[in-house]
């Protein structure tokens, strides 16, 4: 039979009493110079096993036993109602710790690849318009401080483009742009961006680069696809989920690290999102009797223009924010659109 040395505290004063503890049947027996107790195990509570941490057994009246040998105590209590739960003993067993590391990596891998896009998609579609508008307004604000200046296009030209686009029927449902804005940005070049709330921003440079209005309509249809499928909102939700995970994982380590990592993890549209938006554009252009090839042509022009500028060393500053880093796989996309003709 196992007998353990322990410190007994009566719950009324901080004085410690050296005692001996043993199990007899379903009862715990405590004996010392001034202490003589026998309590049914079921009435006692015990602190969880946490490595070699000292354990505390608490009596119903608030008295406690402090026992330093956790392993020995576990053996003594085996079979009584006080023996440990799985979660408490798992960290003490190497095999469970290793299994947890592997499990954690698998969980994160699978979660990031499949769970995250799925959850983000469902949540993005559930977001109320008010929330999307708040996100859109916020994004627009930061845009204007990032090298997007007031447009230099004539008002008549702007209205012409807006009217043309608004006359087109959307592909699915009644997805509408909330507003179409023009911005001048030599820094970012030919570009078009759709914000989660349906705000569309088109650069003067894109209008200038296009050979005809069909090409402009093509890019705008593509951007409307991002809005219809809520790709932007999806990115925002994914960022929030990644940030939440990182803050659980890293604790209070640093909110800056968390925020930065979350942004890096989700700042680009995925290739799949691009494909969806392209398919949306193809369908919408066909429905409105425009040739989808116009979109492919403009993409090719933008790509060519970008490469030329890069070669000339002018594109250095654009790397992180330009159309091609936020819209991946251009060659593949052009081929796909042309095949759809």
């Amino acid at each position: 039979m196992i007998t353990l040395q322990a410190d007994y505290f009566d719950g009324k004063s901080a004085r410690s009493h050296a005692v001996q503890v043993r199990v007899e049947g379903s009862a715990l027996v405590v004996e010392g110079a001034n202490v003589n107790r026998r309590e049914v195990c079921k009435t006692l509570t015990i602190s969880e096993a946490l490595g070699n941490t000292a354990r505390t057994i608490t009596f119903p009246d608030g008295a406690t036993l402090l026992i330093k040998e956790s392993d020995l105590l576990e053996r003594m209590l085996d079979g009584t109602s006080l023996s440990s739960s799985f979660a408490a003993t798992a960290p003490n067993k190497k095999v469970w710790v290793i299994a947890s590391v592997v499990g954690l990596m698998a969980l994160v891998g699978v979660g990031y690849t499949f769970g995250l896009p799925w959850a983000a998609k469902s949540m993005a579609h559930a977001l109320p318009p008010k929330v999307l508008e708040a996100i859109g307004d916020g994004a627009l604000g930061s845009f204007d401080s990032m090298g997007f200046a007031t447009t230099k296009l004539a008002e008549s030209r702007r209205n012409e483009i807006i009217k043309k686009f608004e006359a087109m029927k959307p592909h699915v449902g009644n997805t509408k742009v909330r507003r179409i804005l023009f911005r001048s940005s030599p820094e970012h070049g030919a570009n078009a961006v759709a914000l989660p709330d349906g705000t569309m921003v088109v650069t003067d440079e894109l209008v200038a680069l296009a050979q005809n209005d069909n090409q402009i309509m093509g890019v705008m249809c593509h951007e409307l696809g991002h809005v219809a499928y809520r790709h932007g909102a999806q990115n925002v939700v994914e960022g929030a989920i990644v940030a939440a995970f990182l803050s659980v994982y890293l604790g209070d380590f640093s909110t800056i690290v968390t925020g930065a990592a979350a942004t890096l993890a989700v700042s680009h549209y995925s290739r799949q999102s691009e494909r969806e938006a392209d398919d949306y554009a193809i369908a919408m252009m066909r429905a409105n009797k425009l040739p989808p090839k116009a979109l492919a042509d403009l993409l090719a022009r933008m790509d060519h223009d970008y490469r030329a500028q890069k070669k000339a060393g002018k594109a250095g500053k654009r790397e992180m924010t330009d159309y091609f880093s936020s819209h991946p796989g251009t060659a593949e996309r052009i081929a796909h659109i042309e095949a759809a003709r």
Partner: protein
């Protein structure tokens, strides 16, 4: 989830001034010690993390209990350890309430700006109540030698402290921060008891401003020395391209150095100016060792993609516990218990979620 354990926040924390002169008693000094290890806590942290992820966060309440128990139970002074008694159900209930409040707050924000203003005002009005509940919960669920801690601050006092000083903070553009920090700690510790024995907190607002001033000076000095001197030397040798990397490095080093100074200073300031009945404390945390520990923690945590984190937490806990002593003015086993009603966890959890927990 894995924020610094609540125990250190309640009992071990912060800082500053010179150590108290030796105790005028014939009882020997009792050093605090921490018996936990990084490897041991790694297992606990990992199992907590996996179960929390698998249960979509529900397990985090159990995780918090186990984490607190680990840190409390491994902190020793005068031959006995501390204990945490909070239950997962109490914490879970608190989290549910916190979540509802947070949702209401966010919802109000999406409706209209005037609702957001209302929500902020409502929040300011209920926050002191929650913070006080949180302090009661934490004290009630902490014990030493079977004697529970008790928090006896009144609602009136909580509202006075938080609202008056919160406004002072706004009006002064943050310059009142050191004074507010002192007032919050005074509210906490001057209402904290171990059984029937009371804590008294005597650090002054002036001492808090001194610590803030020294910390700010250190930051400027560190930025200047590392940035200008090291950066300048590199620029002289290899041109500006070689000097550019020196600036982020200067910023990071200065940040950790400043943090080490603040954390150790605050620990010393609080504990060297605290009494518990006839007992006093001595805290001798130093900037150098803490800085080395923090740098090592940061580097290892980055290189192991976060897996070093539990070791890092233990390293800091160990250092902070081991730089503290109790200077008994009477036999330590004379603390007496006092019967008290149960406290709910709602306050502590809401404060956690809103990140307004006054951590001392």
């Amino acid at each position: 989830m894995d924020s610094t354990p609540a125990f250190p926040k309640t009992l071990l924390n912060e800082p500053g001034s010179a150590p108290v002169e030796s105790a005028p008693s014939h009882f020997p000094e009792e050093r605090f010690s921490f018996s936990g290890s990084g490897a041991e806590y790694f297992g606990i942290w990992l199992v907590n993390l996996v179960l929390t992820l698998v249960t979509l966060g529900i397990y985090s309440a159990w995780a918090k209990v186990r984490r607190n128990q680990y840190f409390y139970s491994n902190t020793w002074v005068a031959g006995a350890n501390f204990n945490f008694h909070g239950t997962p159900y109490a914490i879970l209930k608190g989290r549910a309430v916190a979540l509802v409040l947070l949702a209401a707050y966010n919802f109000a924000g999406t409706l209209a700006t005037k609702f957001l203003v209302l929500a902020v005002v409502a929040l300011a009005l209920i926050m002191p109540w929650f913070l006080r509940r949180g302090l009661i919960f934490r004290a009630r669920n902490s014990s030493y030698r079977s004697i529970r801690f008790r928090f006896t601050g009144s609602n009136g006092n909580a509202y006075r402290t938080f609202i008056v000083w919160g406004l002072a903070m706004l009006v002064s553009f943050g310059l009142a921060a050191p004074a507010v920090a002192q007032r919050l700690r005074a509210f906490h510790f001057n209402n904290l008891n171990l059984g029937t024995t009371s804590f008294r907190f005597t650090a002054t607002i002036r001492q808090f401003y001194k610590l803030w001033a020294r910390t700010s000076l250190l930051w400027f000095a560190a930025m200047f020395c590392v940035g200008i001197l090291v950066g300048g030397t590199l620029a002289a040798i290899g041109g500006w391209a070689a000097a550019a990397p020196a600036l982020p490095i200067a910023a990071i080093l200065s940040f950790w150095l400043t943090r080490a100074h603040y954390v150790s200073g605050m620990q010393n300031l609080v504990w060297n100016n605290m009494t518990l009945g006839p007992h006093r404390f001595r805290s001798e945390a130093r900037v150098g060792p803490l800085f080395r520990i923090m740098m090592k923690n940061a580097l290892f945590t980055i290189f192991t993609l976060g897996l070093y984190r539990p070791y890092a937490v233990v390293n800091v806990m160990k250092y902070r516990a081991e730089t503290m002593s109790l200077l008994p003015g009477a036999p330590v086993d004379e603390f007496l218990a006092q019967v008290e009603r149960e406290a709910s966890a709602v306050g502590a959890e809401t404060a956690d979620l809103f990140d307004l927990e006054i951590s001392l």
